[in-house]
């Protein structure tokens, strides 16, 4: 008797907790503490973005690699916090991977760029004009001699094929009849006669040269090449190619703050345009003052991730440690720049190795179709069960509904997200939860048939079926746990709802259905049971 009392309290408690967590799903006004605990929708249902990044730390010493990944996680987290996404998740996965989940996000391109860039800010002086000339000559000569390594520059090779004499002198070796231009690099970098300007048309060739290590090795020592950033307002505009001193004068490490400003109408550099204002810390300010003082009339390039953002000519010694990054920026661009500059640079470059984004419309469609599939399935199964088992069928259906409720409540308590495969898991549970009841009912039928009284048939039916229910469900649970370990995101959602569904169905069948059975059927001392 005591046992039974405990059981009834347990059932009541489970029901109350379930109801507590289900009420916020209803469209009614509730206090905040209550509605905050509402089941969370996964990325695939509310839309959003998931990015897997790999920290490329092969250039770091072994001892620093772990720290590099950890600090990369922190920096990415800072950037996202400043970008403003509700409930982001940033996790380290494995040795050197970072998984970022941004639910509800819609500005996919912007987020990708914000998260993935290294954001290494460097100040470098431009080379002198003699050095620039020397660099051009050297590279022109190098390309002329090694044109075979760069087949994409084929158009600078004058083939003798065009020569009418060619037909006569066949069979000779091809190379002897090729003439390679001696000013390939200069030609690529003098758009409309302007030296060191690259036209949009030649840009892909120059970019490929810059990617080639053997090409870069031929730049005179102490110097480097860097392109001007793409002008978002006019993507086809010419871009300047800078010859910079390799030495970094100052880096973003010494920044104290960065902020977006808008130049006023009289501002010469950026009238009525947004720019980024940088403020150095004390040491940075001292170095900046020194550099500007020593290099008046020279140009100082502000380089971010190897791309030159601006390269103003130093007019005077600058005190106070303030600098500006100006250019034809959009407001959005300056905002994102400020975010990455404030959060600091990543200790090593990161590569995006997987990306999945779901638009809000697909998510909404999935919710709608998932709900209707669940509803239809539930109704059909419930009708069938009532026809097949009658009164006990009603009990089984009640258990089924409680079962669904428990799954949703448990998801809320665990803070797990409901995903589309998760909904599939719930739907599958509808089918399988009925199974526990079917096992019990069929067993009771058999026991009745063998001539037992209602009471002992029910008792025997439950106790025999329970063994089977446990065996059958524990094996399914094993596969669900493996699934959880193996899967990510949506698949995990499926494993979670399936496991919860199995546990809930065991509880409802073994505890709740039994209690109801005893209350409704056996207590009346029936001699007949329609099952």
């Amino acid at each position: 008797m005591k046992n039974r009392k405990f059981r009834n309290i347990l059932i009541l408690a489970v029901l109350l907790v379930t109801i507590y967590f289900l009420i916020p799903l209803l469209p009614i006004e509730l206090p905040d503490f209550w509605t905050d605990r509402r089941v969370r929708l996964g990325l695939d249902l509310q839309g959003g973005m998931q990015i897997m990044m790999e920290v490329d730390h092969h250039e770091l010493p072994e001892a620093e690699r772990d720290d590099a990944v950890l600090s990369a996680v922190e920096i990415v987290r800072n950037r996202i916090d400043q970008f403003g996404v509700a409930e982001p998740s940033i996790q380290r996965v494995g040795r050197n991977r970072i998984m970022v989940q941004l639910p509800g996000l819609q500005e996919f391109d912007r987020a990708r760029e914000l998260i993935g860039r290294t954001a290494l800010l460097e100040f470098k002086l431009l080379a002198t004009s003699e050095q620039i000339d020397q660099t051009r000559e050297r590279l022109d000569q190098y390309l002329q001699e090694n044109i075979d390594d760069y087949p994409f520059l084929d158009r600078f090779v004058l083939h003798e094929e065009d020569d009418p004499m060619r037909g006569i002198l066949e069979d000779e070796e091809d190379d002897e009849f090729e003439e390679v231009a001696g000013d390939i690099f200069s030609r690529l970098t003098s758009s409309q006669g302007m030296p060191m300007m690259v036209s949009n048309q030649d840009l892909p060739y120059v970019q490929r040269l810059l990617e080639s290590e053997s090409f870069m090795e031929n730049i005179p020592s102490g110097l480097m090449l860097a392109l001007e950033r793409e002008n978002r307002l006019d993507p086809r505009a010419d871009r300047e190619l800078f010859v910079l001193l390799e030495k970094t004068e100052l880096t973003g490490n010494m920044l104290e703050n960065a902020s977006v400003r808008i130049g006023d109408g009289t501002d010469l550099q950026s009238p009525n345009r947004p720019y980024v204002s940088l403020r150095f810390n004390r040491e940075g300010a001292r170095i900046f003052e020194m550099i500007t003082g020593q290099n008046i009339r020279r140009r100082l390039a502000i380089v971010l991730d190897g791309v030159v953002y601006t390269a103003p000519t130093i007019q005077d010694r600058i005190r106070g440690g303030e600098a500006r990054i100006t250019g034809n920026f959009t407001l959005e661009e300056t905002q994102d720049l400020v975010i990455v500059l404030r959060a600091g640079n990543l200790p090593a470059p990161v590569n995006i190795i997987e990306e999945r984004t779901v638009g809000p419309t697909l998510g909404a469609d999935s919710v709608r179709s998932g709900l209707s599939a669940a509803l239809f399935g539930l109704i059909i199964v419930m009708i069938f069960i009532i026809i097949y088992y009658r009164v006990p069928g009603i009990i089984a259906n009640l258990a089924l509904i409680v079962n669904m409720g428990i799954i949703m409540a448990a998801l809320t308590i665990l803070g797990a997200a409901l995903t589309m495969p998760g909904i599939a898991g719930i739907i599958l549970t509808i089918g399988m939860a009925v199974d526990a009841n079917v096992l019990i009912f069929e067993r009771i039928r058999e026991e009745l048939k063998s001539g037992k009284t209602v009471r002992s048939a029910v008792d025997a039916g439950f106790s025999r079926a329970i063994v089977t229910i446990l065996d059958a469900n524990i094996t399914t649970l094993i596969t669900a746990i493996v699934l959880y370990q193996f899967g990510t995101g949506p698949i995990r959602g499926f494993a979670v709802t399936l496991s919860l569904g199995i546990l809930a169905s065991m509880f409802t069948a073994i505890v709740m259905v039994k209690a109801l059975f005893e209350a409704v059927i056996t207590n009346k001392n029936r001699t007949e049971l329609s099952i």
Partner: protein
């Protein structure tokens, strides 16, 4: 109401027919695995993109796949699989898929031989092309519905993980059944599970459907479901073997299958009905997943009756013709 009351179907004597039927289907599955089923970008790496390009007004003609494909071909993008999906309210969604690495700008030369293994025809490129060529069809807030880019290395890793997951699940099951029943039951159950997985993979191969991450999850679920079914029958066999000590294995097992038949059918029916609802109403994202489960429910039910239980007869029959305590007492 009841189905299958007092049935006395002789399943065991017909087991050879079932074996032949199963072996043929399994062979298809094995051939599928050897030839290589169609793996989705989850496992191969690649790009998948779903765009809403419904005509903005009824006056605009609907876009055709050929029109869209031509735009890509003009830009040198080939090998992209394009499909349309009909949404509710006459919406038309275009699905782009490719596993091909982007080499549209020249051929990757020796000179630029850096470690950039992960460059695909980027989704951004396709999106931009669609925006410039079909501005009226693409200018809407929910234009991008789904965008996925998976690096080939990730896919390769995942393939290994998926195989491991299936093997670990099977191992866990064999150990559990070994503990609860005895080893013979575990072996029969696992053979039946391989049977189910192979047949499902075979049917996916024949129908040309892709094996994705979700399908692997479905396969594991089928394992769980089919096992559930098998264990219910095994449980009864274990019980009956204790009760009918004088009967032969085949007649006891036949009896057990018949006793549990109505439960087997009802559970399979309810499960099939809900999975079928999921297939019909669940939307494009989940359709293949539901399809795999549908096959799984059918094959899983079949295998517990016609494969797993008859196999016990083979195993026990080999050992002894008359029974004397072959079964562990529990």
């Amino acid at each position: 109401m009841r189905f299958f009351e007092n049935t006395k179907i002789d399943f065991i004597s017909k087991r050879r027919v079932a074996y032949i039927f199963s072996i043929i289907l399994i062979l298809v599955g094995i051939v599928a695995l050897i030839v290589g089923p169609k793996f989705s970008i989850d496992f191969t790496g690649g790009v998948s993109l779903e765009l809403d390009m419904t005509a903005p007004t009824p006056e605009h003609p609907a876009l055709s796949i050929d029109q869209v494909r031509q735009v890509l071909i003009d830009e040198g993008i080939t090998d992209v699989e394009i499909q349309t999906i009909k949404g509710s309210d006459d919406q038309v969604f275009f699905l782009f898929k490719t596993q091909k690495v982007d080499d549209s700008f020249e051929v990757q030369t020796e000179a630029g031989q850096d470690e950039e293994e992960e460059s695909f025809v980027s989704t951004a490129r396709i999106i931009n092309l669609m925006r410039t060529h079909f501005p009226e069809y693409t200018d809407k807030p929910g234009f991008i519905r789904l965008q996925e880019e998976v690096g080939p290395r990730i896919g390769e890793e995942l393939k290994g993980k998926a195989i491991m997951a299936i093997l670990i699940a099977l191992l866990g099951i064999i150990i559990y059944i070994w503990w609860r029943f005895e080893f013979t039951f575990g072996v029969a159950a696992v053979i039946a599970l391989f049977h189910d997985i192979l047949i499902t993979v075979g049917i996916f191969f024949i129908t040309g459907k892709e094996i994705s991450l979700a399908i692997v999850a479905a396969l594991l679920t089928i394992v769980g479901y089919s096992l559930n079914d098998t264990i219910v029958v095994f449980d009864r066999i274990r019980e009956d073997l204790k009760i009918y000590r004088k009967e032969s294995y085949s007649s006891v097992i036949n009896h057990s299958i018949n006793e549990t038949l109505s439960r087997t059918v009802i559970t399979s029916l309810t499960t099939f009905v809900v999975v079928f609802c999921l297939y019909l109403l669940g939307g494009s994202v989940i359709r293949d997943f539901a399809f795999a489960l549908m096959i799984g429910v059918i094959v899983g039910t079949y295998s517990s009756i016609f494969v797993a239980s008859p196999l016990l007869v083979e195993f026990f029959g080999k050992r002894q013709t008359t029974r004397k305590g072959g079964i562990k007492k529990r």
